[in-house]
């Protein structure tokens, strides 16, 4: 959260064109591309806080909401960068399933080719090598074949999900692995993904007299580790996108690949790297779940690719590429995560309504983003 507040009023991210503009801080704020996502997020936060009697933001509510938000945020960051460069990845959900299967399978049955029992580190590393290779393959196919990434990744959506199922059935005889030992107790590496972070925040809260459970002891001891991973992923993506040459390359690739190539941007390498980045995000998502719950099943990550794209869109990323921001995706993930989870804090509403709310929020955010974008770009 801390990284979301600082740049709002400053002049970060705005150069050339802004020099000529004279305007108040407010009018500059209103013209930021993330403003639509930010407003929707505020409305959702306030509405849910009231409707749930504050339950959604009590110690456990915060932890759990951020657990869901961080999950969404990790994959949506990958999807956002890729969409800015003009591509889609529909294989994110299946990649999550594949990575989860691969890790849990190694932890249960040992490394492939008789390399002996797996540790969380080797299982993760080997899985990451595979998923990055698949990401590279997807990117290479898209770049070489000049087919739409929509089609190529759709193929991998089916391919990877099917492969995951087959591996489970053939090797494990069951499409589910559960009852693995609790690796985060014994391995620092598993704890990095499945453990807790920011325990000090809850400790301080407890010392200040809050954070009490029904018995009067300290209630929650920390956020899920994926919260920190999300912050890291979002921060790195933010820096890369808005502070580096690579970021400019990504925007240029999505805006007009031909003129970008003519100006010396390594368009193909940019696109392939971004497919590998979404594969990395999916693997991170899977690692956090596998090492937290010590389970995996063949349906893991189902439909997550669409949720990732929805969040990127709520965050103001354009479907056609060339426009979007990581900060917007942070707001989008918070909005989407809250809507998907916090509805369950409100007893008077049937929980199944959450999909209705997701749809409403998605449309509202897109309309708002569209009007903001038109204002910024002068009606383009």
């Amino acid at each position: 959260m801390t990284d979301t507040t600082t740049p709002a009023g400053s002049t970060t991210g705005r150069t050339e064109a802004d020099r000529l503009q004279k305007g108040s801080r407010l009018s500059r704020l209103v013209r930021r591309p993330e403003i639509g996502a930010f407003v929707v997020m505020l409305v959702v936060i306030v509405a849910i806080a009231f409707a749930s009697n504050g339950n959604a933001f009590n110690p456990l509510g915060l932890k759990n909401n951020f657990s869901v938000i961080a999950q969404f945020g990790i994959i949506a960051t990958g999807a956002c960068l890729l969409m800015i460069a003009g591509d889609f990845d529909l294989s994110i959900g299946s990649m999550i399933g594949f990575a989860g299967m691969s890790m849990s399978m190694m932890l249960k049955w040992g490394l492939p080719f008789g390399l002996g029992p797996a540790t969380p580190l080797t299982a993760f590393a080997l899985t990451l090598v595979m998923t990055l290779a698949i990401g590279w393959l997807i990117g290479t196919i898209v770049v070489r074949s000049r087919l739409s990434s929509f089609i190529v990744t759709l193929a991998f959506l089916f391919f990877l999900r099917g492969l995951t199922e087959v591996c489970f059935r053939v090797i494990n005889k069951s499409t589910q692995i559960s009852g693995l030992p609790d690796f985060k107790e014994t391995s620092w590496f598993a704890d990095l993904f499945g453990g807790e972070v920011f325990g000090w925040a809850y400790d301080i809260w407890f010392m200040l007299g809050g954070n009490l459970n029904r018995a009067g002891n300290q209630w929650v001891t920390g956020f899920d580790a994926r919260f920190l991973w999300w912050i890291i992923v979002a921060f790195v993506a933010y820096i890369v996108l808005s502070r580096t040459q690579a970021g400019n390359w990504i925007y240029a690739t999505g805006d007009n690949a031909d003129s970008a190539r003519a100006n010396g941007v390594p368009v193909d390498r940019v696109r392939i790297s971004l497919f590998m980045f979404t594969a990395f995000c999916a693997t991170l998502f899977a690692a956090c779940q596998v090492f937290e719950t010590n389970t995996a099943d063949a349906a893991k990550g189902n439909l997550k690719e669409l949720e990732a794209i929805a969040i990127a869109v709520v965050g103001g990323t354009l479907m056609t590429g060339g426009f979007g921001s990581v900060l917007g995706v942070v707001f989008g993930a918070i909005t989407f995560g809250l809507v998907a989870n916090a509805v369950f804090f409100i007893p008077s509403i049937d929980g199944s309504y959450y999909r209705v709310f997701v749809g409403v929020v998605l449309l509202t955010a897109v309309f708002l983003n569209e009007s903001v974008r038109k204002r910024i770009t002068g009606g383009l």
Binding site: S52, N55, A56, N58, L60, G61, K63, N64, N65, S67, V68, Q71, R161, G162, E165, F168, R169, N172, K173, S174, T175, Q176, S178, G179, N213, R214, A215, W219, V220, D224, Q289, E292, T293, N294, T295, D297, A298, A299, K300, G301, N302, K304, A340, N341, A342, F344, F345, I346, P347, G351, S352, Y354
Partner: protein, 306 residues
Amino acid sequence: MKKLLFASAALAFVAGAASADRYVLITHTMGTDPFWPIVETGGREAAEQIGAEFEHNFAPSGDMADMARLIESATATQPDGIIVSLPDPDALGGAVTAATEAGIPVITINSGEEYSKQFGAMMHIGQSSAVAGHGAGERLLEEKGEIGRALCLNHEAFNTDLVTRCEGFFDAIGQDLNMIDVSNDVAQITTRTAAALQSDPEIDTLLAVAPHTCEAATTAIEEVGAEDVNLVCFDLSTGVINLIEAGKVDFTIDQQPYMQGYLGVIFLNLYNTRSGMMPPIDVPSGPGFVDQGNAAAVQAQAGTYR
């Protein structure tokens, strides 16, 4: 078309004459459900024991129309028996009737017991969801004396069979149905369950209709600090059995899926080789209960046989 049918029928006849009995198992849902591999193992091992061939087919799309087509193409190969799950009688009835009218003995398993006979199937092997849910409610009432407000955790709110489980349970404990959609994502199952427990502190009983929901629900119960909440689950996994042994889950309902595949093949074989031998009524495969008493014994076989 006629020629093709004739050719394939002749081919099937030749293949059939050359080898042993062949039984086909056709099941619903996409391949991700941990339930069906156990049924498949049951059928395969029964076939091995009697020296028959065994095939398992399912529609990866999960679409009922695709499944009906699978039944039709299985019928076209003239197997010695078809074992089929029947979740949607309207979509699958025609294909099953066509199979039975073609003279192929059919046994329905898992779901659809009310329609089994109507389509000419020999018998049904399965667990009635309403009976199982009801049984779970009765048993919990018996153990606890009285139950406060209950909540059903459903990971597929559109799956009528799972809703029936919840309804049977609430019927037995005399409450109105109280159910939430917890999604299929393990992180969100935990957070949504925790949210529901926090928003309504009067909830003291949870019914989880699947093993992964059950495991995630225990995390939620611990987080909220509501250890006195009763937790009853459906179906088995290694994790659930560990939780039963640790006293965190009261009991789980086992519909003993292995039996559905195993008995299906055995009964069809008896019918074919022992001059039409067949049990006169449907055979229930569940509900079986797994609690602290038998958890250790079930443990060793969880996920493959149980």
